[in-house]
């Protein structure tokens, strides 16, 4: 090869640009001049070229890592997430099969699989670079799966002392998979997340916290600054974590986009030639302004304002309730049809997801947009370990999503989607049932999913050990339901203070469950351990109900002490021939009411029981809910109409609310006939449709 060939010159120029990007352009060190929100101990500079024809990436990564623990370490552990889709023996895909998801019904082609390969690893030691490539090995700390390549370990020639900063350079290449776990490409649409060799979290004496990639869990990383240059064909519109600080067009039809972001724990990007772009600034008194950039699919142009409105709602309510969004910008990505990239959060960027036909009032795309925007707070800023305690971000965020949605919008209505593709979720054509509204407590918190899987796992189990197909019911739904229970038990003001205190104390840090419980106990001013032990430490279910109810006329009968101390008989026949003294009939009829309240579930919670009498009198009785049952007795001159245990439905965790109330006489007949006749009509129409074939 001629050393002066155009190809060689081009290569040399690219190498020069790379060196400039890493050593000359202001990188993480320059950014550090700004006020630091986080420890900034894992800082990345990446220069990546995307070959959109081959669907591959080649990159150079420089990691500047500071050991912020009080222990030294002589290893570096990295996540290579895309190796979870290298073949079907990876832990991710084995678990996904149990989950009965994506790959089960997917026909995968050779080019659909993804991978990450480390070409070279160097420690840029001040005393001279040290090649670490030979020390590279894979680890499977969670299940020992020898085929799993999602965790890589580099052995260092000497330990990194506490407080010491090191620089490591990695050359890597990767193939972008067809979308798995919301990452990949379809057509010329790219959504690229957890795509570079990403350092685990060093936790001192406990070693590296660097789990394999699991199907039902997400991520955990330290905070830092990111400076990323992406080079790809010029026709692509590019969105990414952070702000775009520089765009450079090259003569070969490509362009480089440089994005910089401080105080985040990840970096994702997207590219498509089709994106429509909308920008606006979120402004709310008391909160810092945020520039919103919306990247929208052309066929969803009419839904642009709905995406923006939902993002504004999240920034407003989360900001006012928990704390302000500090980054000043956010990118909202509407992913392409078939990309499977919808509904996922990344620092300062998230994907929502909608359909071509999605009329207002169906809850989509507003719900998912609020949820993923809300993750900027729970996940983005409060950076819990999602491998082990995913409920912290997902549960708090599901609860907050519902609260925000119902504060900002009218309740969505039940919607059925008709005519879908085989195996696809939801049909193309929506039909809204306007008369059937949904509500925050049940549908916002996804109570039905929790009910279905209530005992499938104990939340205190590390999340990556949850049963894959029911993990989300525990992580998202159960947490949201118990938080809403707490809201009703303590009051919103107290719960809001708990959440905002927790947010303030733990933003840009890695809280553990105990940290949340400590804040809750402190702010509530009471020990809530009894509650957390059940909803977090156990898999108890809650169900209180009225088991038996009697309210009938009552008259004293039998032998009673008379005024002279003798025993006298009162009751039927007391004026008969035995000479007994006749007792006067009471002027008002006395009713003795007995209500048996039962705890059917194994969880306990203090409840109130409401007795409503026919004259409108209401009696409320408190019950600590500890025993299996309690008997409430009332003697009044009025008959009981109905009884309700937990009438305000504070205990949203109660899995059967139908049995919480009871009338003396069932009045189910009318609604049973009403809805039964509707069903009969459906069945008759079904038969008529079958007549087509006869």
């Amino acid at each position: 090869m001629c050393p002066l060939s155009p190809r060689c010159i081009g290569l040399a120029l690219r190498l020069l640009a790379l060196v400039l990007a890493i050593y000359v352009f202001p990188g993480p060190a320059a950014v550090e001049a700004q006020a630091s929100l986080s420890p900034r101990n894992a800082n990345y500079t990446l220069d990546v070229r995307v070959d959109t024809d081959a669907g591959t990436l080649t990159g150079l990564q420089r990691l500047v890592w500071r050991n912020i623990q009080d222990q030294p370490t002589s290893e570096l552990w990295f996540h290579l997430y895309w190796n979870g889709w290298r073949n079907n023996q990876s832990t991710w895909l084995l678990e996904d099969r149990i989950r009965g998801r994506s790959t089960a019904g997917k026909t995968l082609k050779a080019e659909d699989w993804g991978y990450q390969i480390i070409e070279k690893a160097r420690w840029l030691d001040p005393e001279g670079p040290v090649d670490l490539t030979a020390s590279l090995r894979f680890a499977a700390p969670d299940d020992g799966n020898p085929e799993d390549r999602t965790v890589m370990v580099l052995d260092l020639p000497r330990p990194v002392a506490p407080g010491e900063t090191i620089e490591v350079e990695l050359e890597f290449r990767a193939r972008v998979p067809r979308t798995f776990a919301r990452t990949g490409r379809v057509g010329d649409f790219y959504f690229v997340a957890h795509w570079f060799p990403k350092l685990g979290v060093f936790e001192g004496a406990e070693g590296w916290n660097c789990h394999q990639f699991h199907s039902a869990t997400e991520f955990y990383s330290d905070y830092g600054n990111y400076d990323v240059r992406l080079t790809l064909p010029q026709r692509y519109v590019v969105g990414a974590t952070g702000r775009e600080v520089e765009t450079e067009a090259h003569g070969d039809g490509t362009a480089s986009h440089r994005f910089v972001q401080e105080d985040v724990h990840g970096f994702a990007w997207t590219a498509s030639p089709d994106y429509l772009e909308r920008r606006e600034t979120f402004e709310e008194p008391g909160l810092p302004p945020v520039e919103i950039r919306l990247l929208l699919q052309p066929e969803h142009e009419r839904q642009a304002e709905r995406h923006l409105e939902a993002t504004r709602a999240a920034l407003k309510f989360y900001g006012l309730w928990y704390g302000p969004y500090p980054y000043g910008h956010i990118t909202v990505v509407d992913p392409a049809w078939g990309s499977g990239a919808g509904g996922m959060e990344y620092p300062t960027l998230f994907t929502c997801g909608t359909r071509l036909l999605s009329p207002a009032g169906t809850g989509s795309p507003e719900g998912v947009t609020i949820h993923e925007a809300g993750h900027q707070f729970w996940y983005g800023m409060v950076g819990n370990n999602e491998f082990e305690h995913a409920w912290i971000d997902e549960g708090l965020n599901t609860f907050s999503t519902a609260r925000t949605y119902y504060a900002a919008f009218d309740p969505p209505v039940y919607t059925q989607r008709y005519l879908g593709m085989p195996g696809a979720r939801g049909g193309f054509l929506p039909w809204k049932f306007d008369e059937v509204p949904m509500n925050r407590a049940v549908h916002g918190n996804r109570l039905d999913r929790y009910r279905r899987d209530a005992t499938s796992d104990t939340p205190s189990t590390p999340t990556f050990h949850y049963y894959p197909s029911t993990a989300s019911s525990i992580t998202y739904s159960k947490t949201a339901v118990w938080l809403h229970t707490l809201e009703r038990y303590l009051g919103w003001e107290t719960l809001q203070e708990i959440l905002s205190t927790f947010f303030e104390r733990w933003k840009f840090r890695h809280p553990e469950p105990e940290d949340f419980f400590a804040v809750a106990n402190e702010v509530a001013g009471q020990d809530l351990t009894w509650f957390f032990d059940q909803v977090y430490g156990g898999s108890q279910t809650f169900d209180y109900g009225i088991e038996r109810m009697v309210s009938r006329p009552f008259r004293a009968e039998g032998l009673f002490e008379a005024e002279d101390g003798s025993l006298e008989y009162r009751g039927k026949g007391d004026s008969s021939s035995d000479g007994g003294e006749k007792t006067e009939e009471p002027k008002e009829k006395l009713f003795r009411t007995e209500v048996t309240v039962r705890r059917y579930g194994d969880g306990t919670f203090p409840v109130e029981v409401l007795l409503v009498f026919e004259d409108g009198t209401e009696v409320r009785r408190a019950w600590d809910g500890q025993d299996r049952w309690t008997l409430l007795v009332e003697e009044r001159n009025t008959k009981l109409r109905h009884a309700v245990v937990d009438p305000e439905r504070i205990l949203l965790l109660d899995l059967n609310f139908t049995n919480n109330s009871r009338l003396l006489e069932s009045q189910a007949r009318f609604p049973a006939i009403k809805w039964g006749s509707r069903w009969l009509f459906w069945a008759q129409d079904l038969l008529h449709v079958f007549s087509f074939f006869g």
Partner: protein, 315 residues
Amino acid sequence: MSFLQAFFRGLRHTGDQSGLVGWLWLANLLIALPAGVLMVHTLDQAIGPSLVHENLRQGFDLGWYGEIEDSNGGLMETFRPSAVVAAGPLLDNLEGWITGRLWSEYPALLGMISLFLLAWILLQGGVLARLHDPLSPRGLRGLLAAGADLFFRLLRLAILSAPLYFLVYKLGRWLLGRIAGATREVTRETTVLLYALAALALVAFLLLLVRAVFDYARIAVVVENRHRALGAVLRGLGFVLSRPGKVFALVALGGILALAAMGLYALLAPGVGTSTVVGLILGILIQQLYLMARIAVRVTILGSELELYKTHRVV
């Protein structure tokens, strides 16, 4: 004879023989009723003495539905909001018809459906005989006698048509699968939707084609007193192929009328808030009138096809 002339003759005959629609409606109701009574009983148990009855009087309580959804199997698996609210029942069943889901989704109703299909074949024979010869014996006895006479011949035709319907649905599923594969790199839902709608339109066309062929086969059995099913099918096929314009104009007219009835029902469908006995009865009346209208459309189209066949058949 134009298709419109045939239609108006069919309409007049149906009007003259309105009792036929009544008997068909009654059969539909009587066969569905036991399951309906069972459903009322099941709902009665599911509501129990709870105060939830108030919510279910005033509307549909999705929270209560969520509680019973997973705990009940059998018949209750078919009880869902879209099956009992507004125009949902019609949409659910229409989707079931075009996708073939009807045949796989309701194992709990298999007995009811089988009984209905047999009853339909029996009564359809009587209807065709009466429309063919308005002087044939009237009343239920006459209807059943004529139906019984034709029953096994029409049953054989129904059995012959089954694999064809099966193939059409199989083709539909195959087509949608192919579309899913062919559009896996497509990033616009609009494109996929159009392909899917085209595939479903083809399925609907083929279903209607098969039914038209077998409608004329049934008519040939009645008009020409044919005993050989295969011969009747060939006769029906020949008739459809020889006059496709008129045949499909009638089919389309039937479809338009059915859709018009559905649209009207969607406007008048009883709301979820019916809380009085009068409202309940009115709702049931609207529903039954809708079903009668659909049956009347079916009988009218059958009568129109009969007129068309009698006018144009080659002896």
